[in-house]
């Protein structure tokens, strides 16, 4: 199993959003995608997910160009949790999670089978949503919706899972339990994150983007240094190393407010 981006480029209105990124995603690991607002994290995730076709370079899944693989085959391997998704359709939580079984169903099967139900319910339990099965989507809080989306992606039973800031809308307890879940799965996870300390604490590997380019890649201790944080975020930070050997950041000042 390999997942690899080779010189991937995406331009919008003549401006490079993702600019020649080459990276190997560690199989089975938890990879954190970091970078300030507008650094190209979401676009890069979409490219990795095959939702955008790179204008240059290629994303390779087991050596195959993602853009040439049939969508359904890709969806059986690779699940995506986008940042904001919403619907006006009246669906129950179980209905939404069962969407994750769509790529696994036989082509003409219009309804979910027992097997699909079992797997969907397992995904709900893993996200701590077991009691919410019959709730309507429209009655859920932002955090519950986020967790239902993650359960939907888990029900897809992917080998690669891509998430765009999944900790948005979650309180700290739910953020930690989500990151525990992501760190524990044997699935290859790539997730965009904003909180550098959480990223440092949980991720096996970090990718730091700045203006569409990959600035640093590697274990948290190598990527999160006082120098790179200041350069990319314009923020001075004091970095200490925890007992577990992971960097811990205390922010001192922001260049955005310092004139």
């Amino acid at each position: 199993m390999s997942f690899h981006a080779h010189d991937v480029t995406w331009t919008a209105q003549g401006r490079p959003i993702v600019d020649g990124i080459t990276v190997d995603i560690t199989p089975g690991g938890l990879t954190g995608l970091l970078g300030p607002n507008g650094s190209g994290k979401s676009t890069f995730l979409r490219l990795l997910a095959g939702l955008l076709r790179p204008q240059g370079g290629a994303v390779l899944l087991d050596g195959h160009d993602l853009g040439r693989l049939p969508r359904r085959d890709v969806a059986r391997r690779l699940a995506v949790v986008a940042q904001e998704v919403s619907t006006d359709v009246e669906l129950t939580v179980l209905d939404v999670v069962l969407l994750g079984r769509v790529p696994h169903r036989r082509r003409l099967a219009t309804a979910a089978g027992e097997e699909d139900l079992t797997r969907a319910r397992r995904a709900l339990r893993r996200c701590g949503l077991a009691g919410l099965e019959h709730r309507r989507w429209s009655t859920l809080s932002g955090g519950e919706r986020q967790r239902v989306n993650i359960a939907r992606a888990l029900a897809q039973e992917p080998s690669e899972l891509l998430l765009d800031e999944p900790t948005n809308h979650l309180d700290i307890a739910h953020q930690l339990s989500l990151l525990d879940l992501l760190a524990a799965t044997p699935v290859t996870v790539v997730t965009a994150l904003h909180d550098l300390n959480l990223a440092s604490q949980y991720c096996d590997r970090l990718l730091l983007l700045h203006e569409g380019r990959l600035i640093a890649a590697g274990p948290p201790g190598l990527v999160l240094t006082e120098e790179t944080v200041e350069r990319v975020y314009g923020v001075r930070a004091e970095i200490t190393t925890s007992a577990a050997g992971r960097p811990s950041l205390r922010f001192l000042s922001s260049a955005l407010t310092r004139h």
């Binding site: 969508r71 619907t87 209905d95 769509v102």
Partner: protein
């Protein structure tokens, strides 16, 4: 009651209701026929050894009432399924063949064929209606681009295109038709099942069946569209292909139905919303339920339209508009417009 039992009940209830409505609607009317008379006529035409009714009563049942009843069921069911599919694809609760201008374009196409003497058979009319329907839908697409989710843009484009095509229809009618046929065309334009014939029933039956056979297996894809094209794509659906196939099928089905019955509005809007409240939003249940309850709804409406003011009858499209506009208002009020 489990989900599955509720689904089974909704479908079985719909079937039972449909059979009962067909029986009731075949009997209701000025001629004072009994259910036994209707059954006898059907049996006689099926070649069974029963004594037929008098030629007059036989004609009423076999040539007028039965085709009209069956056409109402097919048109109501077909428009409702089209509405449900369009609502899912556009992620817009106000989508329906009538609001999107397809019905209006189809009317123009059918009237052009009729009035300009290009042909008068059910197939020629349907072909004209299909051309007009597709043209109108393309006009709507050109105006909204891919902004399907924007209720305001879709509805405005639909209204404007409907106006354009009804203007074209009026020009065609005034330019080419005499007073007598103008009256007939006008009545048909308002949506009426009065001209039902076995030929139009057969054509609509074929198209409605084919439409269901294409749309129903696409239920998982329609479900996946609930969260937008990108989520659908990440679930292994090819959004562009699904949209192309299903938009074409719904435009074709709408056109054939409109060619047979005129532009009957709001059926495709109200029925899917009402049925969703009963069965939930999953399309593998929603679509067959829409076919059943849509048939029941239009049959009931048409029966009222032809008997309430007897011997005069009102076009059924007028009646569905009277019911549909308050329902439309309700949907608008309930929809929370997403912040831009």
């Amino acid at each position: 009651m489990t989900e599955r039992q509720r689904t089974a009940l909704a479908i079985a209830g719909g079937l039972l209701l449909l059979v009962l409505s067909i029986a009731a609607a075949s009997v209701v009317g000025a001629a004072g026929l009994s259910p036994a008379d209707v059954l006898r006529t059907v049996a006689a035409h099926a070649g069974l050894p029963v004594a037929p009714l008098s030629p007059l009563d036989d004609g009423i049942v076999w040539e007028l009432r039965l085709p009209r009843v069956l056409l109402a069921v097919l048109v109501g069911g077909g428009l409702s399924v089209c509405g449900a599919v369009l609502q899912a694809l556009t992620r817009n609760p106000l989508a329906d063949p009538y609001l999107l201008g397809i019905s209006s374009g189809a009317s123009t196409g059918a009237v052009a064929v009729l009035v300009l003497g290009l042909g008068a058979g059910a197939v020629a009319l349907s072909a004209g209606a299909f051309g007009g329907g597709v043209l109108a839908f393309c006009c709507v697409l050109a105006m909204i681009g891919r902004a399907f989710g924007s209720t305001i843009r879709v509805v405005l484009a639909g209204v404007v295109v409907s106006q354009l095509f009804s203007a074209l229809t009026s020009i065609t009618v005034i330019w080419a038709a005499d007073a007598q046929s103008t009256r007939g065309v006008t009545f048909w334009l308002l949506g009426s099942l009065a001209s039902a014939s076995w030929a139009s029933v057969a054509l609509c039956a074929v198209v409605a069946t084919a439409g269901i056979l294409v749309c129903w297996p696409a239920s998982p894809a329609l479900d996946a569209f609930a969260f937008g094209r990108e989520v659908a794509a990440s679930l292994g659906i090819t959004p562009a292909r699904t949209e192309l196939v299903l938009f074409t099928v719904t435009a074709l089905a709408t056109a054939v139905l409109v060619a047979a019955s005129g532009a009957i509005g709001f059926v495709g809007l109200i029925v899917p919303h009402a049925v969703r409240a009963l069965t939930g939003g999953r399309h593998h249940v929603l679509l067959p339920a829409c076919a059943l309850y849509g048939g029941v709804f239009l049959l009931a409406a048409d029966t009222v339209a032809r008997t309430a003011f007897a011997p005069r009858e009102i076009p059924v499209g007028v009646l569905t508009a009277l019911i549909g506009v308050p329902a439309f208002a309700l949907v608008i009020r309930r929809r929370k417009e997403a912040p831009a």
